[in-house]
Symmetry: C2
Subunit: 509 residues, 2 copies
C-alpha cells in the first residue's frame, strides 16, 4: 500500500500543479501565452497519465488487497483506517481503469485540442461567431467520442455512461432519465404557478446602481468570511466565468462583476464558496490520496447549491445579507430597496431566460435537461455540431420557453463543451436534488438554523456539512453518502417540496 500511496501522492502533486496553472490560464494569462501553457499542461497530463497507466499497477493493487485482507483490526480505529484504505484502493483501481482505457496519445491530443478550442471559444463568443467556433468544437467532439467509445468498451458501459462515470462515479443515464423525466413533468406546473403568484404580489424594487467593482469585491469577501471561507488558504479573483479552482489548501475562487447588479456576483461568490468549503473540508489525513478527493461532481454541485440556493437565498439569511449590502454600497438603513423582504423577492424571482448561469432555480433544470439531451445526441453521433444552433433554439423553446437571438446567448454560452467536458451538465441538476435533500437533513439536525442564518452565522451548518459530507471524501459512493446523511436515496422529492414551499407556499422561505 505504501508504494501505491507514494505514486498517487506524486499524481496529486501533478494534478495540483495543473489546478493552479488552469486557474492562472483563466485569471491571469495573456493571450500570447496560450501555446506555451497548452504545451505545459499537455505534458503534465501526459506524465499523470503515465503514472496511472504504469504496467505494474495491477500487481501492486493485488498485493495491497492481500495486505489489507491479512490485517486483523484489533481496535475500532484500526478497523476504520482499514476501511479508508480499502476505499482508497478502490478509487485507485477506478482511476487506473479510466486511464488505461485511453492510449497516451489520445490524452495528449484531447488536452491540446481543448486548450486551443477554449481560446477560440473566448474570442468567437465575444464576436458571436459560431462559424469560427464550430470546427474547433467539432474537433473536440470527435475526440470526446473517441474517448467515450474507448472508455465504454473498457468499463463495460455505454459511451455516454462512461463519460458520466468520470464526473460522477457509478452514475448511469437511467438514473438521470428517471429524475429528469419527473422534473420535466412537474416543473412547468410549478413555474407557471410561481409566475402567477409572483405577478399577484407587489413588485420588488431594484437597488439603484452603479455598484463599483471595489465595493462589490468587499461585499463578496464579507460574505465569504461569514460562510467560513479560510482566507489563509485561498483567494477571490476575477475571470470570464466564475469557478472554483486550486487545491484544498490553496482555494482559488473567481467571480465577475456587473456594475449594474451586485446580486449576481454576490451569489456567484457564495456558490463558489460552497465548492471551496467542500474541498477544504476533505479529510486532512487523506490529502493527496484518491480517497481524500471530492466524491464527484453531483456532490460537489450539491455543496455550492446548498450554500447558494438553499442557505443564502433563504429569507432568514436575507436579514444578514441586507445589512452587508447596505454597508458595502453606503445605502440608508431605511432604503426600501435594501429591505430583507425586498431583496429576498429579488433573489427568488422566477424569470425564464437565455443564460444558464444566471437562471433561477425553477428554470435552471430546463437549461440542464436541454444540454443533457443535446450532448447525448452529439456523443451518439445523432447531432452534428453545425446543427447545434437549430437544435438549441428548438430545445430552449420547449424546455425553458424562450429562444436566443444569438449563438453567444445560445449554444456558445458555456465553457464545458469547448473544453471537452461532455457528461458534466446533468450533475448540476442532480446536485440541486442532493442540495435540497441534504439541507432538509441539516435543518432537522439544527433546530436553530434559520436564526443562525438570519445573523449570518453559518458555523452550525458548516459543522454539519463537514461531519456528514466534506470529511467523508470518497469513503462511500455519492448515493451511499447521501443515504447515510439524509436517511433516503437521492431523489427529487425534497427539491420539488422546496420549490413549492419557497415559490408557492405562504411564508417566505
Amino acid at each position: 500500500m505504501a508504494e501505491l500511496e507514494r505514486r498517487f501522492r506524486r499524481l496529486s502533486h501533478i494534478e495540483g500543479a495543473e489546478g493552479v496553472l488552469g486557474w492562472d490560464w483563466a485569471v491571469n494569462m495573456p493571450k500570447g501565452g496560450a501555446a506555451a501553457r497548452s504545451a505545459q499542461m499537455a505534458t503534465l497530463a501526459e506524465i499523470g497519465h503515465g503514472l496511472l497507466t504504469a504496467p505494474d499497477l495491477p500487481a501492486l493493487f493485488d498485493d495491497a488487497a492481500t495486505e489489507l485482507d491479512d490485517t486483523t483490526p484489533d481496535t475500532d480505529d484500526v478497523a476504520d483506517h482499514i476501511g479508508w484504505q480499502r476505499a482508497n484502493l478502490a478509487e485507485m483501481r477506478g482511476r487506473h481503469a479510466h486511464a488505461t482505457a485511453l492510449p497516451a496519445d489520445l490524452v495528449v491530443r484531447q488536452a491540446e485540442a481543448s486548450s486551443a478550442c477554449e481560446m477560440i471559444w473566448r474570442e468567437a463568443r465575444a464576436a458571436n461567431d459560431f462559424a469560427r467556433f464550430a470546427p474547433a468544437l467539432d474537433h473536440v467532439l470527435s475526440l470526446a467520442r473517441e474517448v467515450a467509445a474507448a472508455k465504454g468498451a473498457a468499463l463495460g458501459l455505454s459511451p455516454y455512461a462512461a463519460l458520466l462515470d468520470a464526473y460522477d462515479p457509478g452514475r448511469n443515464p437511467e438514473d438521470i432519465d428517471r429524475i429528469f423525466t419527473r422534473l420535466e413533468a412537474e416543473l412547468p406546473v410549478i413555474r407557471e404557478a410561481a409566475l402567477a403568484a409572483q405577478a399577484a404580489r407587489p413588485q420588488p424594487v431594484r437597488p439603484h446602481g452603479p455598484f463599483p467593482v471595489t465595493a462589490q469585491r468587499t461585499l463578496g469577501i464579507r460574505l465569504m468570511t461569514m460562510a467560513g471561507f479560510p482566507f489563509d488558504h485561498g483567494r477571490l479573483d476575477v475571470s470570464h466565468h466564475p469557478f472554483s479552482g486550486g487545491v484544498p489548501d490553496d482555494l482559488r475562487i473567481t467571480t465577475r462583476y456587473d456594475e449594474a447588479d451586485f446580486a449576481e456576483s454576490a451569489m456567484a461568490v457564495l456558490h463558489e464558496t460552497g465548492h471551496a468549503l467542500y474541498e477544504h473540508g476533505l479529510p486532512k489525513a487523506w490529502r493527496d490520496q484518491p480517497v481524500g478527493l471530492a466524491r464527484g461532481m453531483t456532490l460537489h454541485e450539491s455543496q455550492s447549491l446548498l450554500i447558494e440556493m438553499q442557505a443564502s437565498r433563504s429569507r432568514p439569511f436575507m436579514t444578514a445579507f441586507a445589512e452587508c449590502a447596505r454597508l458595502a454600497f453606503g445605502a440608508d438603513a431605511d432604503d426600501p430597496a435594501y429591505g430583507a423582504d425586498n431583496l429576498h423577492a429579488l433573489m427568488v424571482r422566477v424569470k425564464p431566460g437565455l443564460i444558464r448561469v444566471t437562471a433561477d432555480e425553477v428554470t435552471y433544470p430546463g437549461h440542464v435537461i436541454l444540454r443533457y439531451r443535446l450532448e447525448r445526441a452529439m456523443i451518439a453521433g445523432d447531432l452534428a455540431v453545425t446543427d447545434l444552433p437549430g437544435a438549441w433554439a428548438e430545445g430552449m423553446a420547449r424546455l425553458v420557453g424562450v429562444v436566443p437571438d444569438t449563438d453567444r446567448d445560445g449554444c456558445m454560452q458555456d465553457i464545458h463543451w469547448p473544453t471537452g467536458s461532455f457528461g458534466y451538465f446533468p450533475t448540476y441538476s442532480l446536485g440541486a436534488m442532493a442540495a435540497a435533500q441534504l439541507f432538509q437533513a441539516a435543518r432537522r439536525a439544527l433546530p436553530d438554523l434559520d436564526d443562525d442564518l438570519s445573523r449570518g452565522d453559518f458555523a452550525g451548518l458548516l459543522g454539519w456539512l463537514r461531519a456528514n459530507v466534506h470529511s467523508q471524501g470518497c469513503r462511500w459512493s455519492a448515493d451511499e453518502l447521501i443515504l447515510r446523511a439524509t436517511g433516503a436515496p437521492l431523489g427529487a422529492d425534497d427539491f420539488l417540496a422546496h420549490l413549492r414551499q419557497r415559490y408557492l407556499g405562504g411564508a417566505a422561505a
Copy 2:
C-alpha cells in the same frame, strides 16, 4: 537528435510550469498554500531531474554527435542549422553533467528546504528576527555545500566554481577576483569624487507625493510599452521583491510600490523589462530547447542593467521620462521637480546606503563584492550562519561605508540565500560590466541613439540587442557572445569610463 529534442522539450514544459508556479507563489499564493505548493514544485523538480539523468542519455548524446558529424552541409543555411544543433547538444551535455552530479533525493531535499526557508524568511525579515531565520538558512546552506561538493567533484571544479557554473556557465572565480579587485581599487576614488561633485552642484528637488499606486502602475505600463514590452505575451504585477518570471511567451514581471517615491518602482519596472525583453527575444526556432535559453545570469543581468542603468537613467531618456511622470501624477508642465535635468540628477544620485536593490550604480558593486566574499566563505565552511550579522557589519563598513542597525536591512534583505542561490550574486556586477560594454557598442552602431531615447524610442536599441544578444540564445559562450558583439572580451573598462563620464564628466550622461 530528434529523440533528444523531444525529451528536452518535455523538460522545458515542466520547467515552464515551475516558472509559472514560482511566479504565483510570490504574487498570489495565500500563506496556507505553501506546503501544497512546495510539494508540487518538489515533485516537478524531481521529474525534471529524472529526465536529465536518464541512463540512456550519454548513448543518445554520442549517437547525435555521430549524426551531426555525418551530415555534409550543402548550403550555408544547413551549416548554420548544424551549428545550432551542435550548440544545443553541448548545452544538453552540460545540463546532464550538472544533474547527474546530484542524487535525486538531494534535489528534492534542496527544493523542500528552500521553499520552507523562503516562507520563514518572509516572516522573520518582517519581524527582524534573525534567530528565527538562522536555523532555516543553516539547513539551506548545508544542502548548498553538499551540492557544491558533489558538482565540484563531477565537473572537476572547486565547489564554489561549480555553483557559479550553474548560473554563468564557464565562469570561474579567478575572473571575478580579477574584475572585483580592480573595482575595489577604483570605485572608492570615483565614489568620493562623485560625492564631492554632487555636493558642489545645486541640490535636486524631490517631486512632492504621495504617488498613488494606480498612477504608478499606469506609469510603469507606459514605460514598459516604450521599451517594447509585448503585453500580449506578459503582464506586470506586485511582489515583495521585483523579479522577472514566467516563460518567453508569457512574461511575468513584478514590482513593488512606495507611495512616497515613484522613481524606485519605475526603474525596477524598466530593469525587469530588460530581463523580459531578453527572454522574449530568444530564438523562436529554438523555443523549448536548451540552446534557445538565455545564456546565463551575467548576460541576463546585462540586459536589465542596459535598459535600466545605461538607457533609462541617461540624460537623454529623462526628457521622455519627465513627460510620462508629469502625465501620470498630474504635475504642471513647469513644475521644477519634474524637469528632465532635475529628475536626471535624482536618478544618478550617489548615496551609500544599506540596501542592495536600491543602491546607485557606483556603490552597488560594493554590496555585491560583500556578498561574494561572504558566500565564498560560507560555502568553504569558513563562516557560520550565526556569524553572518557580524561579518556583514564589518564588510559593509569596509566596502560601502555604512553599517545597518538591523538584520532586516542587513543580511536578511535578499531572497537569494534563503532560496538556496549561492554563486548568483557576482553575476549582478559582471552584468553591469557587460551592460556598459554592450551599450557602448550599440552607441557606436546607432548614431541617433541619444535622440531616440530622448523621444522614448527604444526601437533601434531593441533591434540591436535582438540581433546581437537576444537572438543568439546559447549559440556561443557568454564571453564569446560579448566578444562578437563588442569586439573585446568582458572587462571593467567601459563600466569605469561610463561612471567617470556620468558622475565626474562635464556634460550630463
